[in-house]
Symmetry: D2
Subunit: 144 residues, 4 copies
């Protein structure tokens, strides 16, 4: 049995993490799914639904919804290490390519730094494995 790395003590079970992800009304409506979770890293899937479309020609998914997915992925990456839900302080999103309706959308969040006051996470959202956006979020991890 491997010795856990420093900071790798399990702060939250996958069951509880999943419950936090699927319970909020918006996450339910979006149908978010936790695909992978480990200390400081999650992968979340967002299925297609027609209401996500940004334009009348149904040609691409709204960037705001990709930002929402990115925010959630960064947030949950942080939650794996702190064990409780954390508010977003700020979020920055760079759009690289449009998200087409038939793409399989996945967001991977990785913690850059766990801090006592604030934590930083990097996120990439992919569509069929191609990078669609990169994001970086700051989350409040001060104990309340």
């Amino acid at each position: 049995m491997p010795t856990p790395r420093k900071g790798n003590v399990e702060k939250i079970s996958t069951e509880e993490l999943t419950r936090l992800l699927v319970t909020p009304p918006l996450h339910q409506w979006l149908g978010l799914e936790l695909k992978e979770a480990e200390h400081g890293r999650v992968v979340i899937r967002m299925p297609y639904r027609q209401e996500l479309l940004a334009d009348v020609d149904s040609s691409y998914i709204h960037g705001g919804m990709l930002a929402t997915l990115a925010d959630v992925a960064g947030d949950f990456a942080v939650i794996t290490g702190v064990g409780f839900a954390v508010p977003t302080i700020d979020l920055r999103v760079d759009y690289l390519r449009p998200a087409r309706p038939d793409m399989e959308l996945m967001a991977e969040g990785n913690v850059v730094k766990f801090g006592r006051q604030v934590s930083v996470a990097d996120v990439q959202v992919t569509g069929d494995g191609k990078q669609l956006l990169v994001a970086r979020g700051l989350y409040s991890t001060a104990v309340r």
Copy 2:
């Protein structure tokens, strides 16, 4: 009759701007409303709906949806000056206060700079008049 300021020539009618706002499936689902529009500035309202909630206690609206609203407001502020829909290049959101379900949510977008390649807009989202977030977005205004 006042002489229009430089750059103040009407590039898009309010009717066309409204059509661009209310036609996309996501905007329709959100029920976005154009409240004010002039050269370089718009005010957009996002009504409450239960699916926007971020938590099981129904205590606040999801930050991603506020970012979506902010993105739209920045985008449409830019559209008033260029006359056509523009893609978001990057977006940065600072969350100041939680958005409660009973708040009247409004986003005001103001163009900081109209550029030939890219344009910058500032946005604030208010709830019952109180500042909930500030955002800044960069939009691609290169003529295609």
Copy 3:
């Protein structure tokens, strides 16, 4: 005598604020000057020096030095309200126009929100009164 607004109690004297500004070696080298200061707002001047130039043709000031000036202005706007030096958590800068060597450079920092954990400030840097960049910074205001 007017009743001070909530949070408007003087946390730091202009003398102490000036001392904090002019003492650090980098600020000295840059020759930063405090031109105005009130609760939540400062104006800081950065004089020209040849080492600030970004290119061989001496045509413009390096963007990094404008970001430095913006960071300082945001920081000192926050200091007016908390009374002590605060570390920058993150900084975002949008460049609007190049800074020419003969321009009078001024940065105005305004606090958007004083928070217990973090505070947000907006900054604009002008050259001869024209907006050259806008920036937004997040500063750690948790009491140590």
Copy 4:
């Protein structure tokens, strides 16, 4: 002889890249050194000098100067692929740890996306190999 990958044609020689780096007055004053360069990636060293200090106790390097270094690293990562100097459109910096005076400071810039209009680069600045900041910059790569 290997077939160059698409986009991997040498757009600029290491000699010319070095000349662009060491010629500007600010870069000279900072003593910036090009340590590594390949398509889409550079490593740049910034040596210590006393004027970079942020505080009277000489305990850490000014964040603005680290942002300057990050900006240059992102910029030069982009230059490797476009072959000419490019202006910064926006820059975002997250500070993770203070930079101590005795640390060996290195910035690594990696291009996230080469675009026809704009390009995105990620940067990390390390001190003695420890991550001090992460940054992301947007650069104008429209052909003039």
